[in-house]
Subunit: 391 residues, 2 copies
């Protein structure tokens, strides 16, 4: 009983099979010049060993597992850019653990913002990334070069008949992508299966009349045990993609969805719930990292976000430029993805948005199509005319 | 071709089957006295219909689906408490949609903090809630009334043998709950299955020597398609619970895990990744709502969080009081759950923590057990002595 083990039986100076490959996270850290080294070291510990560093004085845990400071640069008085690298072995090929290592525990601190991730191509190969990307989606949707038009079925509360009638009119008016509003799930007044069937059929009916190829993209954010069932139903019903909220279901669930060959549909990422990361300039995750890099790693083909100046949201123009940039930045084998700026945009904003985003963009206009006149089809055609004129 | 439909075919003044039952979200909103009414109305629209409210002038969408302002009270100059209610029908019985309605899109705004949820008991019945709760966990772990002791296996980088040796020594020293550090997942140097088997056996071995009933709680945060497999493996290996990060896998995945009768283990919720919601006093979700209410709705029995003043994290004492309060607050049929304050705590802090949390608490002490002396078993016994003395 109570046989006392020697503590020396647990040694911290272990040797590990380590490739030497590392990923880098670029942080912006608030600190005085006297504090910054210590703050950077603290991130290295917190995100990896979470253990008194003074007890791990040698060996591969010290040399490789502990985060490593690669650089500290003054950005402006009180703010530094800090680059910290992590051994790829601690990620274990898991997206959940990647997120955890680059921003898990430090999310509960303050004054640390993750700006960007960098990794060797070989590391990015761990994840399949977007199945379609910009080029693939253009082929799939038969829109070779102009910006794409999207809108949302709403308001919440409409029944299946009304929503499918809206879908029909949107498609008649020349909207390429007709998606559910993200709050429309499986409410009793518009149950998922009936809605997806009816809206899909309505868009097909319009396509037959116009000769165009509009698509319907249902929202499949759902309880964890129903997401894939809904995705498969959407696929069978002829949906042209699925929209999901990674903030609510987890980025890795979106990855599984994108990777699933039995579904194989374009994936639209919606930013609901993720705002707290992105809207605080001092702490959180820069929009380009959160809504482009993480979304690409997770395999989505489209990242929806609120464009600056829409009165409804707090994103600014620099945030939007950052998102656009990271949608197309070289990042291993990952395909470029579409930015889909929306969030209270009006047709008047399109020329300005076109200037920022270029042609590889999906313009998402919702309420404004209803406000302009009682003739929804005409309003959609006006949207289409503006886009065709400027592209 | 191009047969033009009448817009009147889509009517917004619909009648809906609505029970009249509503849930309430209490927000703290930054606004001037001139702005507050408009800001509150904006939340009502944004979280429900996301549609020009002026186009929905009558009918049940206007009356019931649209969020409803139940009260606006001045907290202090520039800050108001705003209570908004939502029809239970828009939640559709989905936890994902509950989160989406109470804080989805407004997360991308600023100056809006969700403080608390209130709902009729009948609504809470939608979700099963914690399987064990405080009383159930005390029975399961055979600890009738004192605070429970917990610690973490770390640092990341140790192999299976070293981690299981640590588990053995912790158990010999009288720690009730020995959990993985949340960054230990399935790394090549300590693969999940080997680690869980070995650590489980090590704790059993110590239990046989001491006659006590320590438990091992592995971390099962993992890619979405591996979580349940890991949980089932943990169950078979005799684990005394599982720990998961709802921020990374989604709250609803934690709910599915807790609800799964084929697993049926206590669930420990870890706060990694969720900090951005909780650390900004002006925007986000109050710790009591995020780390207690949402965690209870999601079925966890224990909520881990950093206690105030640990130098590692930004939670303050009011946050901790809020968490403690909401762990035990009456909330429909949901069982009370254990707060598990940790995050760089030392043995010296225990009496003060005991004052705040009382006996229904799990003290989580990690690194400090290694710092005190080279004799880990003695250090654990000192922890146990302190707890037994004050309870």
């Amino acid at each position: 009983m109570n046989q006392k083990p020697k503590l020396s039986s647990v040694r911290y100076d272990v040797s590990l099979p380590i490739s030497g490959q590392r990923i880098s996270a670029v942080y912006r850290v608030e600190a005085s010049s006297a504090e910054i080294q210590k703050r950077a070291e603290d991130i290295c510990v917190e995100q990896t060993i979470e253990f008194p560093a003074e007890l791990v004085t040698s060996g591969d845990i010290r040399e490789h597992i502990l985060g490593r400071i690669e650089g500290i640069e003054l950005v402006r008085e009180g703010t530094y850019q800090v680059v910290i690298s992590y051994a790829v072995e601690i990620i274990a090929g898991e997206l959940t653990q990647l997120l955890n290592v680059v921003y898990g525990n430090i999310s509960i601190k303050s004054g640390i913002r993750l700006e960007r991730l960098d990794a060797p191509d070989k590391f990015w190969n761990t994840f399949k990334g977007p199945r379609f990307g910009v080029a693939g989606l253009r082929r799939y949707y038969h829109v070779p070069d102009r910006p794409l038009l999207a809108t949302a079925l709403k308001p919440l509360g409409l029944g299946v008949e009304a929503l499918s009638e809206l879908a029909y009119q949107y498609a008649l008016g020349g909207i390429d992508i007709i998606k559910d509003d993200h709050g429309i799930t499986d409410q009793s007044f518009a149950p998922f299966k009936e809605r997806v069937t009816a809206c899909g059929e309505a868009v097909q009916k319009a396509n037959k009349q116009t000769g165009a190829r509009s698509v319907y993209v249902p929202s499949i954010t759902a309880p964890a045990d129903q997401i894939f069932e809904r995705a498969r139903f959407a696929k069978k019903a002829g949906a042209g993609g699925v929209m999901i909220v990674p903030g609510l279901v987890g980025f890795d669930t979106m990855r599984c969805l994108a990777d699933d060959d039995s579904i194989g549909l374009p994936v639209f990422s919606h930013p609901s719930w993720l705002g707290c990361f992105a809207v605080n300039p001092d702490h959180g995750i820069a929009p380009g990292a959160l809504l482009s890099q993480f979304v690409r790693i997770s395999g989505a083909d489209v990242t929806i976000f609120p464009h600056a100046g829409g009165r409804r949201f707090s994103m600014n123009l620099d945030d939007c430029k950052d998102i656009k940039q990271e949608c197309a930045e070289t990042m291993g084998h990952f395909r470029s993805i579409f930015p889909a700026p929306g969030g209270g945009m009006s047709l008047e904003r399109i020329p300005e948005m076109k200037q920022l985003y270029g042609n590889d963009v999906i313009f998402l206009i919702g309420g404004d199509l209803h406000r302009r006149s009682p003739d929804l089809v005409s309003n959609c055609r006006a949207f289409r005319d503006i886009v065709e004129k400027i592209s």
